[in-house]
């Protein structure tokens, strides 16, 4: 089988794309060429990042790394609620609690969820100095989801939605004064406009590795197993590389003069307390399935 592969990321040097390339290479070799995947980088196919789940479900693309799935599989956003998951350990527990729910939600979109990888925690990068969350007050911060918007609002900041291409110049000119991202993610491209990083973990971003269900089931059982196995190995490997890269990037950003402020004592607990009611109203607004998913996650991490 010849598959069309796609990833939202357009930077070939990022751990995300390197990981996808490893998968594609290994699949070709280990299935003895029975399955070949041609990987296209983000934006090249004129398919919007937020349409990847649908593109895979409709069979336009057979295999993809999918980061912006929340419009198609909104229940997955539980994992991205601000302050719900604060560290690697909690992430591991929460994501295994969500696993069956996600499998089912993606299956409803005619998509087979094979695995995934995760970015390092998103922290607050700003053009002004931040010593604690209180310093967000009155500042314009770019957000990429309504949930992040809630977080910024909770501390008196102004959440701004803005196209990605506009971000560097918007930072430079003061249209926005900060972004929420990882050192190994967006900050890699924008660091020259961001003199400050407050290491407050707002949330994690993760990407699903998915396949079109019909295409996947058309594979021989053996090839299905090979593909599943490769993804289950390379997904965590990509996560590990991201964590490694986060340290490297953070160091090089510090060397380049970025002021990195460590997490202030008490900020985590204070923010958690402030946003806990939001998780519940969020789940309630979205329906009983969401409430159950949230309950499962909270039980798994003991919050």
């Amino acid at each position: 089988d010849d598959w069309t592969g796609y990833t939202y990321s357009s930077v070939s040097t990022t751990s995300a794309v390197k990981g996808m390339n490893r998968i594609v290479d290994r699949v070709g070799k280990e299935t003895d060429g029975e399955l070949k995947i041609e990987l296209h980088l983000g934006k090249t196919l004129q398919i919007a990042s937020s349409d990847i789940t649908q593109a895979v479900g409709d069979g336009v693309v057979d295999f993809a790394a999918d980061f912006f799935f929340s419009g198609s599989v909104p229940i997955a956003r539980v994992l991205n609620l601000p302050m719900l998951i604060e560290n690697d350990d909690e992430w591991a527990k929460a994501s295994s609690a969500m696993e069956p729910i996600l499998q089912k939600a993606f299956a409803e979109q005619d998509v087979t969820l094979l695995g995934g990888y995760r970015y390092p925690e998103q922290t607050i990068f700003t053009t002004f100095e931040m010593k604690s969350l209180g310093d967000l007050n009155g500042h314009k911060i770019r957000v990429t989801s309504p949930e992040q918007g809630k977080f910024v609002e909770a501390f008196g900041g102004a959440p701004i939605t803005l196209a990605g291409t506009d971000v560097p110049t918007a930072l430079e000119r003061g249209v926005i004064e900060g972004v929420l991202t990882a050192s190994a993610g967006g900050a890699k491209n924008w660091h020259e406009f961001l003199p400050y990083d407050y290491r407050f973990p707002v949330n994690y971003g993760n990407s699903m590795i998915i396949a079109n269900t019909d295409a996947f089931e058309a594979l021989s059982d053996k090839d299905q197993d090979i593909l599943r196995k490769i993804v289950s190995e390379e997904g965590p490997e990509t996560t590990a590389e991201f964590i490694e890269d986060e340290k490297v990037q953070q160091q090089s950003q510090a060397d380049a003069g970025m002021k990195i402020t460590p997490l202030k004592d008490g900020d985590l607990a204070m923010a958690r307390e402030k946003l806990t009611p939001f998780w519940e109203t969020w789940a309630k607004e979205n329906g009983p399935q969401y409430e159950e998913a949230l309950k499962a996650v909270r039980a798994a991490i003991g919050k």
């Binding site: 004129q46 398919i47 349409d51 593109a55 560097p168 110049t169 020259e192």
Partner: protein, 430 residues
């Protein structure tokens, strides 16, 4: 092979006279069918949505509307009259007004056609009546018009940015200095021509009086104000380049109101013309993206990179090849479509050769300018020719030829000194 067939059909349909948009879409559909059969067409829906649903492209109707409000309110005549007293005593006389006026109008308008239209409708009747050489006048107006897409804001740059993910603000800053330099070169050429052959332009030796200059300045002020509003909103951190278009529309409407030119007729006519013009442009960009999807799927861009790699083509040779390609295609293709079709194919190769994407954006914009000046399909030629009954397209073509040569020389200058484009963005944006 598929690529050659698809590009062949594309060029055949365009030259054969089909609507460019449908030629591009048809060739794109054919291209996908060649590679994936009819099943490949199921991607068209999601690709269409990904292509058309774009915030960045909102700048196009906005900047077109702003220019239409100014044109409709007759403010361009005011600009022309305002610039004249400052430059008419130079050798070449009022012809310098064409260039200087175009440069100022360019700083508001996003495109070349509105710039050329704004200046031509005022200048052509005026200058032919005073015994200026009509070819040189037409040439200076066409050349001035091309500044419209080089001096920011520029719709062409916005389209380049949507295909390459380059910062629009950087591109805008990069176009400024080349635009001003080109305007100076044009004016230098006019002065030299007029000194060699004084019959081309009657010398106006009346000295401008202070009150006259003051009144003239007052005529330019609304434009300077609008430039200040548009560029100020971008560089002052109030608006992104896209949003600045809306700021400009509001500014243009306010200025038209200030001069008591605002009316329902003016607005509805501006809206009508904007819908037609931006529908035309947006649809060509849209269909080109369908074609670009097919191009990306075929991997022809990667093959091109590999080919250049094997052939060991130097940066200079590659740029010259691009110049020739654009020059040939520019004879019969519309500029925006050219960008949309060519840039996605060659962009990976450029990156591989280490060409700065911002610099190349300016380079491509100047190539598009050239295309707008070459017959048989040269948008600017038609705009200038259609502004006066006495001027034929042939006159414009002949008059434009020397300016065409100036632009070519300027491109070589830009290859030799990339700082011409890159100095301002690195200076203003770090």
């Amino acid at each position: 092979m598929e690529s050659i067939l698809a590009f062949g059909l594309l060029i055949g349909l365009i030259v054969g006279g089909m609507w460019v948009q449908f030629a591009v879409a048809g060739a794109g559909l054919f291209y996908v069918w060649l590679m994936k059969g009819f099943a490949g067409w199921k991607a068209l829906g999601i690709v269409s949505w990904g292509s058309a649903n774009s915030f960045t492209l909102a700048a196009i109707p906005l900047f077109v509307l702003m220019a239409e409000v100014l044109l409709g309110s007759g403010l361009s005549k005011r600009l022309y009259n305002g610039v004249a007293p400052f430059v008419r005593r130079l050798p070449g006389g009022l012809m310098h007004t064409n260039i200087a006026g175009s440069a100022i109008f360019s700083a508001i308008a996003g495109g070349s056609a509105p710039t050329a239209a704004a200046m031509s409708t005022v200048a052509l009747p005026e200058l032919s009546a005073r015994g200026y050489d009509k070819r040189l006048v037409a040439g200076s107006l066409a050349a001035g018009g091309t500044l419209g897409i080089l001096i920011p804001p520029s719709i062409t740059m916005i389209i380049y940015a949507t295909f390459t993910e380059t910062s629009i603000a950087r591109l805008f800053a990069a176009g400024m200095l080349p635009g001003i330099l080109l305007a100076v070169l044009y004016m230098g050429f006019i002065a030299v021509r007029a000194l060699i052959n004084p019959n081309l332009a009657p010398r106006d030796i009346t000295r401008s009086t202070w009150p006259e200059l003051g009144a003239a300045l007052l005529d330019i002020v609304p434009f300077l104000l609008l430039i200040l509003i548009v560029l100020g909103s971008i560089y002052g951190g109030f608006a992104t380049p896209t949003e600045a278009g809306a700021v400009g529309v509001i500014g243009a409407v306010l200025i038209a109101a200030l001069y008591r030119k605002l009316s329902v007729t003016l607005l509805s006519e501006a809206l009508r013309r904007t819908t037609i013009m931006s529908g035309n442009i947006l649809f060509v960009v849209f269909t080109s993206m369908i074609f670009a999807y097919a191009t990306a799927l075929s991997g022809v861009g990667e093959s091109l990179v590999a080919m250049l790699d094997d052939a060991n083509v130097s940066r200079l040779a590659f740029l010259l090849i691009i110049m020739v390609t654009f020059a040939i295609l520019g004879c019969f293709m519309e500029g925006l479509g050219m960008i949309a079709i060519i840039v996605p194919v060659i962009f990976p190769a450029l990156v591989a050769l280490g060409v700065d994407p911002v610099w190349f954006g300016v380079f491509v914009v100047i190539l598009v300018e050239l295309g707008q000046l070459t017959p048989p399909l040269g948008v600017i030629l038609f705009v200038v020719a259609s502004s006066s009954k006495d001027v034929k397209v042939e006159d414009v073509v002949m008059g434009t030829a020397p300016f065409f040569a100036i632009i070519l020389l300027f491109m070589l200058l830009m290859i030799a000194f990339p700082q011409i484009a890159l100095f301002l963005p690195s200076f203003t944006l770090g």
